[in-house]
């Protein structure tokens, strides 16, 4: 009997490519949508699409391709989900035993602050400050102008500062 994995052996180059990036992409998707299960689904969906196009994109720009799908799907999915759960407190997982209470509290503060952003502002912040993407790259991935990225970044930072009044937020070093 043929096992599933043997029937369609994965392309070694694809596997290597994905394994080198998947954790960072999953973290980014989580920061954009705020839901780990949804983030996994979104990344899985983006990687399936990448696999379907692999022969075509492997020698071109797979990074741009997969990020464009992931971020745009994340923005639209989170936008839909936001309407579904509006007004509900996020169901945070209980902190692991022995976790630093201050650190847990700071993490929750950041996630709550991110919740105050629009989906596109959230994606812009993650691309600019977590993925360290330039304004031009961010605009390309989100399908908007550099001017829009600048204004979204400006508005997002203002909201984050309002949401975290005790934090003196620095953004130094962004490209």
């Amino acid at each position: 009997m043929v096992k599933e994995g043997e029937r369609w052996p994965a392309d070694a180059e694809f596997v290597e490519y994905v394994r080198a990036r998947q954790h960072r992409l999953l973290r980014a998707a989580y920061l954009v949508c705020g839901d780990l299960h949804l983030a996994e689904d979104l990344l899985q969906g983006a990687l399936v699409k990448l696999a379907r196009q692999w022969d075509r994109v492997r020698d071109e720009h797979p990074d741009a391709y997969v990020r464009r799908i992931l971020y745009r799907d994340a923005v639209s999915s989170w936008r839909r989900r936001r309407h579904e759960v509006l007004g509900l407190e996020p169901a945070w997982d209980a902190p692991a035993p022995g976790a630093d209470a201050d650190e847990v509290e700071r993490r929750l503060d950041v996630l709550r602050a991110l919740d105050s952003l629009t989906p596109r502002q959230r994606a812009t912040v993650v691309l600019r400050f977590f993925e360290d993407r330039s304004e031009r790259d961010t605009a390309d991935i989100l399908g908007c102008s550099v001017g829009t990225v600048k204004s979204q970044t400006h508005d997002a930072l203002a909201r984050l500062r309002t949401a975290m009044p005790r934090v003196d937020l620095e953004t130094g070093g962004a490209r």
Binding site: W8, H61, V125, T171
Partner: protein, 426 residues
């Protein structure tokens, strides 16, 4: 004490576990591709066999000559014949008489497309709007058509609502539309592919000196004045708030929230991507969510002239009708078709080339919208046997899988300039 935002984002996502999705993604992709092929083969076995036989016969008749490119040596029954012209992959569409023999479009139900779309008498359709006594509509609009209003002069929108529990077509007599004059096609109205907002609950129409936004829940309209008497094409930008309006000399951005109207200083477009020919070169242009131009890249391959409105999807595929230059005409004996380009990659076109013949008019194809899996749904127009009225069919072109599927017939056209039907939101 200052805190770097980057550090905070690292901290916030620090607990995200590592999961390995690589092999699962690969298997899922391959399994999906295999399932697609299997469903198509099983579901359309007889039709595909008939199509294959017909294809052989057509080739034998030599009505268009053998492509001078490099046709596929053994095409599968569900794949189109292809040719390579100057590095551009050309899918050779069947003649109009064979369109209904193509395999059925497997996602038709999912995107709300029936095997017969349209209506014969809009006056007899149920109505939506003030003074009609109708309940509010809660179903999403998948297409909008036009019909003559009772005064025989103006146009009335008709909504196609395949998800509705009751009637699937609703006429909106409370929103009557003035026609525009078109040099090439006479009076009528052009419905932009982006006429329906992404939430499928509002439609925008061009009017002399303004745009009219139809609320599909109530059947009521709101007019926003634009200082341009020649508006002829309007659509929603991807922010679903801005309307991009094109007049004879100018384009405009209309903020439907604040009703603020701005003259566009540069090229604007209602969608992420469009295809355009300016001078001797054809380009792929990218746009922001508010419709502003963000980039331009020249298309590769032999000369081609984009001639229709562009539709695009989130994977940056764009498609539009185009006329093919001499290089194509010499190589494959075809002169028009649908052009598709992937904007993230090197912008090398793919083409669905229409046949030539007395039943195939200029502008034989119009791109309507992208369905799932990089399939573009198009409207095909032909005049079989020299008929006065066009036969209109919906087809689905798989730009990756090289296949063409049959969706269904479309009813007669009213009031739409250019002889095509409505705007679709799949």
């Amino acid at each position: 004490m200052t805190t770097d935002l980057r550090d905070l984002l690292e901290l916030a996502s620090d607990d995200v576990p590592e999961v390995d999705l690589a092999e699962g993604a690969w298997r899922t992709a391959r399994a999906e591709q295999r399932a697609v092929r299997r469903r198509v083969l099983l579901g359309a076995g007889a039709a595909a066999a008939a199509a294959a036989v017909t294809t052989v016969a057509v080739r034998g008749a030599g009505d268009e000559g053998r492509p001078a490119g490099s046709p596929s040596p053994t095409p599968s029954p569900t794949r189109l014949r292809t040719a390579d012209v100057g590095g551009v992959l050309v899918h050779l569409a069947p003649p109009p008489g064979e369109e209904t023999a193509q395999p059925p479009y497997r996602d038709a139900a999912a995107v709300g497309l029936a095997s017969r779309i349209g209506f014969t008498d809009a006056m007899r359709l149920p109505k939506l709007g003030p003074d009609t006594g109708s309940p509010p509509n809660t179903a999403s609009v998948r297409a909008v058509f036009l019909s003559w209003a009772p005064d025989g002069r103006r146009l009335m929108p008709v909504l196609y609502l395949p998800r509705a529990r009751g009637e699937q077509y609703l006429a909106c007599p409370g929103v009557l539309l003035d026609q525009a004059d078109f040099t090439m096609t006479g009076q009528g109205m052009v419905l932009d592919p982006r006429a329906i907002r992404d939430d499928r609950l509002a439609i925008v129409f061009p009017q002399p000196g303004g745009v009219l936004v139809l609320d599909a829940r109530t059947g009521t309209g709101e007019r926003i004045a634009v200082p341009d008497p020649g508006l002829h094409r309007v659509g929603w930008a991807k922010d679903n708030r801005t309307v991009v309006a094109h007049g004879g000399e100018q384009s405009w951005l209309v903020d439907t929230g604040s009703r603020r109207v701005t003259r566009a200083a540069d090229v604007v477009h209602a969608g992420w991507v469009d295809l355009e020919t300016t001078g001797s070169s054809s380009e792929l242009r990218t746009f922001s969510a508010a419709g502003a131009l963000t980039g331009t890249r020249a298309l590769r391959g032999p000369a081609i002239e984009v001639d229709g409105a562009t539709v695009s999807n989130t994977e940056a595929w764009a498609a539009a009708h185009a006329y093919l230059g001499q290089t194509y005409a010499g190589a494959i004996g075809r002169s028009q078709g649908l052009l598709a380009v992937q904007g993230d990659l090197r912008p090398t076109p793919r083409l669905l080339a229409a046949t030539r013949g007395p039943d195939v008019p200029k502008g034989a194809y119009r791109s309507l919208a992208f369905g799932p899996r990089d399939v573009v749904v198009l409207e095909s127009r032909s005049f079989p046997g020299g008929a006065d009225r066009p036969t209109l069919r919906l087809l689905a072109w798989d730009v990756i899988g090289e296949g063409l599927a049959y969706v269904g017939e479309v009813g007669p056209v009213q009031g739409s300039a250019g002889g095509f039907t409505g705007a679709y939101a799949l």
